[in-house]
């Protein structure tokens, strides 16, 4: 399938976290554990896919000057729908992620894909792009969350493998910056080798 690369691009070449460095706020704030990172990634992917699809459909009809307000309205609508759905069916996750669910509206990844991809491509391609970038984002967040959880609480996906505490700084704010920084170094190394 020739369209497969729309999905894989989002994973490595256009990885939103390590290459494009977009959407840093949720990346740093919600990755205190692997599960939290995974949930945040999935929530963002939901909005990303739907907004990509809708924007690719309406883009040809929207006058150029009101493009951005229209996109923001569409994105904000899906975020509100997501908020309501999460409150209803996954209240625990909604509470943990808190402020960062409404803040998906201003996540540069979502508006970035709308403006940079969806308004120039068809529905199918935009949906695949949404899935690819969404998966890339989810994977990055899960990995950061996993590293912080292993170092900070001595557990992985909630499964505890040491007794007592880990290096607490890693679950707190500084750990987020440090882990992301060092993971970026590894990613750069990997890209340089290729």
């Amino acid at each position: 399938m020739s369209k497969w690369h729309f999905v894989t691009d989002g994973f490595v070449k256009n990885n939103p976290t390590f290459v494009l460095v977009l959407g840093m706020c949720p990346t740093l704030a919600t990755t205190t554990s692997a599960i939290n990172g995974l949930e945040m990634g999935l929530a963002t992917m939901f909005v990303l896919i739907l907004s990509n699809i809708v924007i690719s459909l309406i883009a040809p009809k929207v006058p150029d000057k009101v493009r951005i307000p229209v996109y923001i309205t569409v994105i904000a609508t899906f975020v509100t729908v997501l908020q309501l759905l999460m409150q209803a069916y996954t209240p625990a996750a909604y509470e943990t992620l808190g402020l960062f669910i409404p803040l998906i509206v201003v996540n540069c990844i979502v508006l970035g894909r709308a403006e940079g991809f969806a308004n120039k491509h068809g529905v199918g391609e935009s949906a695949l792009d949404g899935i690819g970038v969404g998966l890339g984002f989810t994977a990055s967040l899960t990995v950061i969350g996993l590293v912080r959880e292993i170092l900070g609480s001595g557990s992985a996906f909630g499964w505890k493998f040491i007794s007592g505490d880990g290096i607490l700084a890693f679950v707190m704010a500084p750990g987020a910056f440090l882990v992301l920084g060092f993971l970026m170094v590894l990613f750069n190394k990997y890209l340089a080798k290729k």
Binding site: P60, K65, V66, T80, Y89, V171, M172
Partner: protein, 189 residues
């Protein structure tokens, strides 16, 4: 297809249309999710009440009371006691507890509703069995609801005195609320 021209008419039309459709979508989503959201909130409250009070078939009655200038929300369960929501300042932010006070004035159990304490230190107030179990069956008439450092009878969580103090204060406030409710004889509903 070309994008529509950016004339004023087109722009206004487009924005209005988009806003209308979006409002409709959000409205529908709100209507559909309203019931499950209420049910989820209800389920959480019911679960918390069941944890902090002895088992009872009575339906909890919601109420609120003003004690010492602060409004407290509480649930009265006939035959079991009161589940009182009490909030104080911990180390990292607000610490909100639900405290179950049985009819005889002893604390039945407590549970943390929300907190922003330091992970691995103050946040242990949700998991540290030795700390939490001290409050089960605590009789404020015989012992003092404060950590030992402050002359009370409670062991603080290791290295988290501020959180422990906040927790003890929240429970002690809830006991005051209980007495106020009892003294009043009836609830202001």
């Amino acid at each position: 297809m070309m994008a529509a021209a950016s004339t004023l008419k087109n722009m206004v039309l487009c924005l209005t249309l988009v806003c209308l459709i979006c409002a409709a979508v959000v409205g529908v989503a709100y209507a559909v999710t309203k019931e499950p959201i209420d049910a989820a909130a209800q389920a959480k409250t019911t679960a918390s009440i069941a944890r902090v009070l002895p088992e009872s078939d009575a339906t909890p009655q919601e109420g609120s009371v003003r004690v010492g200038g602060t409004d407290y929300k509480y649930y009265k369960v006939d035959g079991a006691g009161y589940a009182i929501i009490s909030t104080t300042s911990g180390f990292g932010g607000l610490l909100s507890l639900m405290v179950g006070v049985a009819e005889d004035g002893t604390v039945h159990n407590t549970t943390v509703l929300s907190h922003s304490e330091t992970p691995g230190l103050g946040a242990k107030c949700t998991t540290d069995g030795n700390f939490i179990s001290q409050f089960q069956g605590f009789n404020p008439a015989e012992k003092t609801l404060a950590v030992k450092k402050d002359g009370g009878d409670l062991d603080a969580i290791t290295a988290s005195t501020i959180t422990s103090r906040a927790y003890a204060l929240a429970v002690s406030n809830a006991v005051d609320v209980f007495h106020q409710l009892k003294q009043g004889g009836q609830d202001d509903e």
